[in-house]
């Protein structure tokens, strides 16, 4: 088993610690904030920085172990950057739709123009 140089282990460890901190902060914000639309913001921290840090740590670690460039963990970033906005947008539309249906006072009206008015 080959021994990795110290700076690689330090970089991987720093990225992992950073990702853990980002994920905990985002989960704390998700628990603490009062409204659903406010609550949608902190998970973006985990979805971007949390996953990027882990993926970059994985790329660095496996590249140094196998002594060649290992880029396939990048697929995680690509998959998340495609799927997460779709899910988030759908959930935001769900929240807006249900809030409008419940008749909350400060809800913005729909932007589509009515043909019959």
């Amino acid at each position: 088993m080959n021994q990795l140089p110290l700076w690689v282990e330090a970089a991987v460890a720093a990225l992992l610690v950073l990702s853990g901190l980002f994920v905990v902060i985002s989960a704390f914000g998700f628990l603490r904030l009062p409204d659903f639309f406010l609550r949608m913001h902190p998970p973006a921290l985990a979805y971007t920085f949390g996953s990027w840090c882990v993926t970059l740590a994985s790329i660095l670690y496996f590249s140094m172990i196998e002594s060649q460039l290992v880029l396939h963990p990048w697929l995680i970033i690509i998959t998340l950057s495609i799927t997460v906005p779709v899910t988030t947008l759908l959930l935001a539309r769900v929240a807006l739709f249900r809030r409008r249906a419940a008749g909350a006072a400060d809800t913005p009206p729909p932007l589509t123009l009515r043909r019959d008015s």
């Binding site: 991987v12 989960a27 659903f36 882990v54 995680i76 799927t83 997460v84 959930l91 249900r98």
Partner: protein
């Protein structure tokens, strides 16, 4: 594996566990259904991160494919549930 790296891995896994507990509290308490769907999506995401970190821990590439599968399943299940809440059916 040095003590530095294994300590960082343990710290990251502990952070994910704490974050998952916080999200589960929101999942139980969540006032509306969309809070619960979003919390479930976050739980999938934390499971994916745990898979990636375990891949570093065990020096194995197999965990990466599990992480990719979890990411895809998270997208499918969350969007299906959001669509169900929005319209009352998944495929119109």
């Amino acid at each position: 594996m040095s003590a530095l790296l294994s300590g960082a891995i343990a710290f990251a896994l502990g952070c994910y566990a704490v974050a998952s507990v916080l999200v589960v509290i929101r999942l139980i308490r969540g006032p509306r259904a969309q809070d619960r769907v979003f919390a479930l999506d976050l739980l999938y995401f934390h499971a994916m991160l745990v898979m990636l970190v375990l891949g570093i821990r065990h020096r194995s590439d197999t965990y990466f494919e599990a992480a990719l599968l979890i990411a895809l399943f998270s997208f499918v299940s969350s969007s299906a549930m959001a669509k169900f809440i929005l319209r009352g059916e998944v495929i119109e």
